[in-house]
């Protein structure tokens, strides 16, 4: 093979093509989680693109999100009140997760496990508030996946499908966090190291990030 091939001499290509590992020092689980999240990104992208498409194709008017998602506080309807609190909680949980990762790498396993449990509690609160929101929409406002009194049927269809799918991700994340937290607490990773907390964190931050997009496209548009 000729040395002259241009790509051969690019340092970047050489680094990537090096033997043993493309991402040096990255544990297998972490690499795998990143690739999984890339795949999952495509799932949510397809969901959101489909939602935008049906929002365009339906001939019925689209319900006004600031009215649908308003919450009465002290007798005054406040738009997006609940959802603002939910978003705040979820983003806070990303903060506690990051602290757990930090504690893990400092080998303080008890604080790390506690912070993970706090994260899980925030996640559970988020899911609980989502259940409250769903109940309000279904019972009080008559929104169903196949239709609603305010306008286009696709509003309910896309809303329940996408927030439901995201809610499943959060719920799965809560279970995942609890399992890992218990194992961290018991000292199972003392020898292997605490990469597992970062891997769990990657998933958790991803779920948060997806929520930001759902929030923007559903509630603010």
């Amino acid at each position: 093979m000729a040395e002259a091939t241009g790509l051969r001499n690019l340092q970047l290509v050489n680094d990537w093509a090096d033997d043993v590992a493309v991402f040096r020092g990255v544990p297998w689980g972490k690499a795998m989680m990143w690739i999984f999240l890339l795949s999952d990104t495509f799932i949510f992208t397809c969901f959101l693109t489909s939602y935008m498409t049906v929002r365009m194709t339906t001939a019925e008017p689209w319900p006004n999100p600031s009215e649908v998602f308003a919450l009465e506080a002290f007798g005054v309807p406040v738009p997006l009140l609940l959802i603002a609190i939910m978003t705040f909680i979820l983003i806070t949980s990303s903060g506690t997760m990051a602290m757990a990762v930090n504690m893990g790498y400092r080998r303080k396993r008890v604080p790390a496990a506690l912070l993970m449990l706090v994260t899980a509690v925030f996640g559970a609160m988020f899911v609980g508030m989502q259940m409250f929101e769903w109940t309000k929409l279904i019972v009080d406002e008559g929104v169903r996946p196949w239709g609603n009194p305010m306008g286009a049927a696709q509003f309910g269809s896309a809303f329940f499908m996408i927030t439901g799918f995201h809610g499943l991700h959060v719920s799965a994340g809560v279970v995942y966090l609890i399992i890992v937290a218990v194992r961290v607490w018991r000292g199972r990773y003392e020898e292997k190291g605490y990469d597992i907390i970062e891997i769990t964190g990657l998933y958790w931050h991803f779920v948060d990030l997806v929520w930001v997009f759902i929030f923007a496209f559903f509630y603010l548009w």
């Binding site: 093979m1 040395e3 091939t5 033997d19 991402f23 049906v54 339906t58 049927a153 696709q154």
Partner: protein, 585 residues
């Protein structure tokens, strides 16, 4: 540092050696066993699809001669044949089967990075096959919506299997995607992170490159199918209208309104086109290795071959709407997608030239794997060239939904990968079992399959030109149907039945040779890549002895001038002569 830290990790990898029959052959975490499980299941379900195609051919060749084939059954045959062949046979066999088998062996790893996840992957795949086949035993039978499952018709009265069949089909696909994701994450991570010392990306055999890129495509394309399956299930079961416009069905106005059937087509083909390359790229990779090994010559333009695989993979994501020229989408889209489609022919043509140039003045051994490899190159060129016709909007429009299309995709993504799969099985069977496959039976199998293919699919191009529409149960009194069509259809049917029956020779060969075959020895083809250098044949659980092999060269050192043997294994250190002669790779 960290890099060095990873190899001992791999050498000390927990392997969970099997303790009982169940953990050895059923719930095994050994990638080789999982590969064989994938292979047997895929071939088994593929035989079902083969029988279905024989049924279709019976109706087309001899219309109305068989009572058990009515229009409903015919549509069910079409749908199940297509879906099984593309997803449950080709994807599962090439990635689940050969991916599992070749990736750790060729990269010099002990196993996949997460053997447990790998094991679950197979069992979830098995579940998806069960769900799919269960649709034969529910009221109404399997769906007859065509393998593309286009709504609105797929979930409306009038389509066979509208009650249960379509739901089982969509459910099965969703489960399959879960299985594929678990396997696929393993293949990609293993290739990226768990190669042995010296095995740089640019020393990997092209089989691994093809499997790698195909898996990446799968991980990014299957989500679109997953999402559309979920949405169609919701449309069908709880009455949402994602894909459903306002419809009047048999005089009744349905409750659907405002959805977009075109959205489904976009999602489906955003998956569907990369799917073509999910099947093609592993075949490209494997055939490169077969040709190089059996022609005793290095692959021509290795680097170009790698970049062609990568380029095809990237481009395959921006060509999907060439399946939709007649769907009513904007003509400007047609212009864009026609352009990208023709551009993808460039890297593909590079690969064909390189295979041909590898064969040029090589020491060609016409072994059975080599015959299949050469047959692939020829068939792929045939199918590829008709692709240029169909990629152009103005040529495609009159040919759309005719037998020309059927001929095209069967040549290019049906028969071509199947030929590679056969070649690959003849090639790697000795490593997996320690026995050679019978040569005579192999030759019979090859010639009947190869020549039969051309008797079956060549005339279909003509059928398409005279305008015979595809997916029709019967052509009836249509004025455009020429006399010659009837005779050709009979010829095709007879050829198809003969080729179908002759696959028994292949199955028999697999079984017979396992017990009575000639001993293969560790390296019967005198090949260079790592899987032929394992300490035992078949390789034991963990693949390698105490230490992992070290790689010193690429996988294509065949017929190197001045060397004693005409091949140098990848594990062989560079000699002083090589250094003196200034060989760089």
């Amino acid at each position: 540092m960290a890099v060095e830290a990873q190899i001992p990790y791999q050498e000390a990898m927990e392997l969970h050696d099997p303790h009982s029959w169940i953990t050895k052959y059923w719930f095994s975490q050994d990638h080789k066993v999982i590969a064989i499980q994938y292979g047997i299941t895929a071939i088994g379900v593929g035989l079902v699809a083969l029988v279905l195609s024989a049924m279709m051919r019976l109706q087309l060749g001899f219309p109305d001669q068989f009572d058990f084939i009515d229009p409903e059954a015919y549509y069910q045959f079409i749908t199940m044949h297509g879906m099984i062949m593309v997803i449950y046979l080709l994807t599962a066999l090439l990635l689940g089967g050969f991916g599992n088998l070749l990736v750790p062996l060729m990269c010099g790893a002990r196993d996949m990075v997460f053997p447990y996840v790998n094991m679950i992957s197979y069992h979830v795949y098995f579940l998806s096959v069960i769900i799919l086949l269960a649709s034969y035993f529910v009221p109404g039978g399997p769906t007859g919506a065509g393998w593309t499952l286009y709504p609105p018709q797929a979930i409306l009265t009038g389509t066979p299997g509208v009650d249960w069949g379509i739901l089982l089909m969509l459910g099965s696909l969703a489960v399959f995607i879960v299985a594929f994701t678990m396997g696929g994450l393993n293949y990609v991570t293993t290739i990226l992170q768990a190669r042995t010392r010296g095995m740089t990306l640019m020393r990997m055999p092209l089989s691994v490159w093809g499997i790698f890129m195909a898996t990446v495509l799968g991980l990014l394309a299957f989500p679109a199918l997953f999402v559309s399956a979920i949405m169609m299930i919701l449309d069908k079961t709880i009455g949402t209208s994602f894909f459903m416009p306002a419809v009047v069905s048999i005089g009744d106005s349905l409750d659907y309104s405002g959805g977009s059937p075109l959205l489904f087509q976009h999602l489906f083909w955003f998956f569907g086109h990369p799917e073509v390359y999910i099947v093609a790229l592993p075949a490209f990779g494997i055939v490169s290795d077969l040709i190089s090994t059996h022609a005793r010559k290095n692959i021509f333009g290795y680097r170009m071959m790698v970049w062609a695989i990568v380029a095809i993979g990237v481009l395959s994501f921006i060509v999907w709407a060439h399946h939709m020229y007649v769907s009513g989408m904007h003509p400007w889209f047609g212009f864009f997608f026609a352009t990208t489609t023709l551009i993808i022919a460039v890297p593909t043509a590079i690969k064909v030239y390189n295979w041909t140039l590898t064969l040029w003045r090589a020491n060609i051994h016409l072994t059975v794997p080599m015959l299949f490899a050469i047959a692939f190159v020829i068939t792929f060129v045939m199918g590829g060239i008709t692709g240029l016709f169909l990629g152009n909007v103005i040529v495609d429009v009159p040919l759309s939904d005719t037998y020309f299309v059927v001929a095209h995709f069967h040549m290019v993504m049906g028969v071509s990968p199947i030929l590679v799969i056969f070649g690959a099985i003849y090639h790697w069977y000795p490593k997996m079992t320690g026995k050679m496959l019978n040569d005579t039976l192999g030759h019979i199998h090859f010639w009947v399959t190869f020549l039969g293919t051309y008797i079956i699919y060549y005339p279909m191009h003509y059928l398409g030109f005279v305008g015979v529409p595809r997916r029709y149960f019967a052509n009836g009194e249509m004025a455009i149907i020429d006399e010659s069509v009837i005779m050709l259809n009979q010829t095709i049917t007879i050829a198809a039945l003969i080729v179908g029956v002759f696959q028994i020779v292949f199955i028999w060969n697999l079984i017979y040779s396992y017990f009575k075959g000639r001993d293969a020895g560790p390296n019967p083809w005198k090949a260079t890549s790592l899987e032929w250098q394992t300490p035992e044949t078949p390789p034991r659980h963990g693949n390698w002895a105490e230490k992992l092999p070290t790689v010193h060269r690429w996988a294509y050192d065949y017929s190197v001038p001045g060397m004693k043997d005409d091949f140098i294994p990848q594990t062989e250190p560079r000699t002083a002569e090589e250094t003196a002669a200034g060989r760089t790779e």
